[in-house]
């Protein structure tokens, strides 16, 4: 009897195996579907420039579907609204919006790039851009810029220059982001502590964080999370330290001012003014804030939609500027871009969509839906007004204090991935913060040297 059981188990395993192989095989080429070909055969109208460059297509306005891949689920509705507005004007071009979460995004893209299966149009991050541009995986748009099809001066804060390399343009600015201090009004009210304002310093933040903490109830004043852009990078800048030196050839992690800033943040965990690293690994600090367990947290402007999605803190939280440091108010400004694949099958259609993504109309949709601060000049106000009950203006005001995200070097993807691993040793208490910072500096300098 048992022999049959065993062979049954074995054949079941075999079936599973074959099935998973088959699935894997399917997964490989399920991209770029010709998809909606059945609908609307040829409504040539829309596309302002006909798909002349397309070799095979018999009639010019053949319906095509292009893929647009993004990493933020919270922005998906806005991106789909933009795609819909685009298809309304170009009925023969459908856009499929795909979300790959940030944690997997670059792993997937780095596999897709050499395989030639990058999405037609996708979000680009300043840190990753150089790698993809030098590999010629991105379609240059220099001639379109020169032909005046798009004007990169339309975008705020010099964002148009991020996605250029060796005189070639590759991307159109999508949005920009800065960091703010989110606070839970209810927890402040309960302790009768005034809300954070422009006068706050890091000392004040630490003092209030301690006052608001009730560790026995699982409530903490501040989420001193292990995080870079929405975390200690701001502290470092405010304290006069650096992430990288000006010409990006040397790490600033071993500067005394940097180490001091990191220590100050870590001290909040030791003082029980913040959950421990382990607690914040188990439950993300932003999730803790969303469930009303944290009084204050640093978070990016891009994440407001995420915070607003929580029923627990809805109407009970607001934003303030980051506190003043010893030297200045620190902040990181980063601009995302839209780029297109050099190997796309529908480049002309992709370009039309890319151009539309860079238009004022797309920026207005982004702003009104509160997805992100659009890069297009003059559309930021609409974003601020998209949530009238929140002080979103702090994000715009802080651009004046902000330093660009330290991307733009070939070594960035390597050192950025390793940074978190080393710092988590320090945040978890296995090594001292100073030791961790020095290790990061050494690792970064090595990565910079290797990338030359």
């Amino acid at each position: 009897m048992n022999a049959t059981k065993k062979s049954k188990a074995a054949s079941a395993a075999g079936v599973l195996l074959v099935a998973s192989l088959a699935l894997a095989a399917c997964g490989g080429n399920s991209n770029n579907g010709e998809g909606a070909a059945s609908s609307a055969p040829a409504s040539a109208g829309g596309a302002s420039s006909p798909a002349a460059s397309k070799p095979a297509g018999g009639d010019g306005g053949k319906a095509v579907t292009i893929s647009y891949t993004i990493w933020d689920k919270n922005q998906q509705p806005a991106m789909e609204a933009i795609a819909k507005a685009f298809t309304d004007q170009n009925p023969n071009i459908k856009v499929k919006v795909d979300v790959i979460p940030w944690g997997d995004y670059w792993t997937k893209m780095s596999a897709a790039a050499p395989a030639g299966t990058l999405p037609d149009v996708f979000w680009m991050h300043g840190g990753q851009f150089i790698k993809y541009a030098t590999g010629q995986f991105l379609e240059p748009i220099t001639d379109k810029v020169q032909a005046g099809e798009i004007d990169l001066n339309n975008y705020a804060a010099n964002l148009g220059s991020i996605y250029t390399l060796d005189g070639q343009n590759y991307g159109i600015p999508k949005d920009f982001d800065t960091i703010g201090l989110a606070y839970n009004k209810e927890l402040f009210d309960q302790a009768s502590v005034p809300y954070p304002d422009d006068t706050w310093t890091y000392e004040k933040l630490a003092e209030v964080a301690k006052k608001l903490s009730q560790p026995d109830k699982g409530i903490y004043g501040f989420g001193a999370k292990l995080d870079t852009q929405a975390g200690y990078w701001n502290d470092i800048l405010a304290n006069g330290g650096h992430i990288l030196n000006a010409d990006m050839t040397k790490s600033g992690y071993d500067e005394p001012a940097t180490i001091e800033a990191l220590k100050a943040r870590y001290q909040l965990i030791l003082d029980k003014a913040s959950p421990t690293h382990q607690q914040m690994t188990d439950t993300d600090a932003v999730e803790m804030f969303k469930s009303g367990k944290l009084a204050m947290i640093f978070d990016g402007s891009w994440d407001n939609g995420n915070l607003a999605s929580s029923d627990v803190i809805k109407g009970k939280y607001d934003w303030a500027k980051l506190p003043n440091g010893k030297v200045k108010r620190g902040n990181i400004i980063n601009g995302l871009g839209n780029v297109m694949s050099a190997k796309g099958k529908h480049k002309e259609e992709s370009w039309q969509f890319l151009k539309f993504l860079g238009s004022k109309e797309a920026a207005d949709i982004t702003a009104q839906m509160g997805a992100a601060i659009p890069a297009f000049n003059g559309t930021q106000d609409a974003w601020v007004k998209s949530k009238p009950d929140l002080n979103l203006q702090v994000f715009i005001d802080q651009t004046a204090d902000a330093v660009p995200y330290p991307s733009g070097s070939k070594s960035y993807p390597v050192w950025f991935a390793k940074e978190g691993e080393i710092m988590s040793q320090a945040w978890g208490g296995a090594i001292s913060v100073e030791e961790g910072a020095k290790k990061v500096a050494e690792m970064m300098n090595q990565a910079i040297a290797d990338a030359k």
């Binding site: 048992n2 022999a3 059981k5 188990a9 792993t107 030098t134 590999g135 188990d282 988590s424 945040w427």
Partner: protein, 289 residues
């Protein structure tokens, strides 16, 4: 049907599996060996031959030796524990007890549970603050983020997941032992444990041999429980990081496929040695009748 066309037909029948194996297993394995001698840039589009440079770097890397140590420690803890417990339960399941098929199903369940879902449950069990394990035994141990305990937590999860299937294999082995042997032994006055020691165990050794080969190879490739339960920001990661986890990190997070390939090529050599060693040693303990 002549012999030739019979063979042809046979190959057609095994083609789906064979092609899958060649394309998804054999080819990547061969390509990994090749990658280990290269320095790839630009997502693997530009490759330069660098000879043994990746291996030189590997042998000078303290982290690699630590990862190797972690992997071997896991093998040493996991394999014997799994074999002993699987045998123990197989013997119990082989006895004539009421509802034994229910027990068999229960012990086999981990095998059909989705690893990711099980990992989430284990994370809750091991949690320091409201974890089931700590409340059950009245401790406050950070099972998965204290480097003194994290490895044991992984071994527990590993053994839990492996018992079911191995128990089944061993059970099949037990059922293959002829009844008359026991009857003869009983006539000679053998009881209880002595029957197990002198009849069951020797005749089970071919099955145990097979089980241990497969378990060792599987254990050296531990990755998913580290990825799912420990996680990349865990302070205990360096104390449990396996070679395959290091491979994943280097190849897919740090974009260094060549260094990653060097790691798994070393692992391949280690596995060849371990398996070869076991085959050599089988003369000493495996009984074939």
């Amino acid at each position: 049907m002549n012999a030739k066309s019979r063979y042809a037909w046979a190959y057609v029948m095994i083609a789906p599996t064979l092609i899958g194996t060649l394309v998804f297993w054999l080819w990547p394995a061969i390509y990994s060996v090749y990658l280990g001698f290269l320095k790839s840039e630009n997502f693997g589009m530009d490759n330069h031959w660098v000879g043994l440079a990746n291996y030189e770097r590997l042998f000078k890397d303290d982290e690699f030796w630590q990862n190797l140590k972690n992997t071997m420690l896991y093998v040493v803890l996991f394999v014997p524990l799994t074999i002993v417990l699987s045998t123990f339960f197989a013997v119990l399941m082989n006895a004539k007890i009421k509802g034994r098929s229910v027990y068999r199903v229960i012990y086999f369940l981990p095998q059909v549970t989705m690893a990711a879902a099980a990992a989430m449950v284990w994370v809750i069990i091991f949690a320091q603050d409201y974890g089931l394990l700590n409340s059950a035994i009245g401790t406050h141990i950070a099972w998965i983020s204290d480097k003194r305990f994290a490895m044991y937590a992984l071994v527990i999860v590993g053994v839990w997941g492996a018992i079911g299937f191995n128990m089944l294999l061993i059970l099949a082995g037990l059922q293959g032992i002829p009844r008359p042997l026991y009857e003869a032994a009983e006539l000679d006055g053998a009881v209880g444990f002595r029957k197990f020691r002198y009849i069951t165990l020797p005749l089970l050794t071919p099955t145990l041999f097979f089980t241990s080969i497969v378990l060792v190879i599987g254990a050296t490739q531990i990755f998913d429980s580290i990825y799912l339960i420990i996680g990349k920001t865990n302070v205990a990661l360096p104390s449990v990081r396996s070679l395959v986890y290091a491979y994943y990190q280097n190849s897919f997070i740090y974009y260094d496929q060549n260094y990653g390939a060097a790691i798994v090529n070393i692992l391949l050599v280690i596995n060849l040695i371990l398996t070869g060693f076991q085959f050599l040693m089988q003369k000493k303990w495996v009984v074939y009748d």
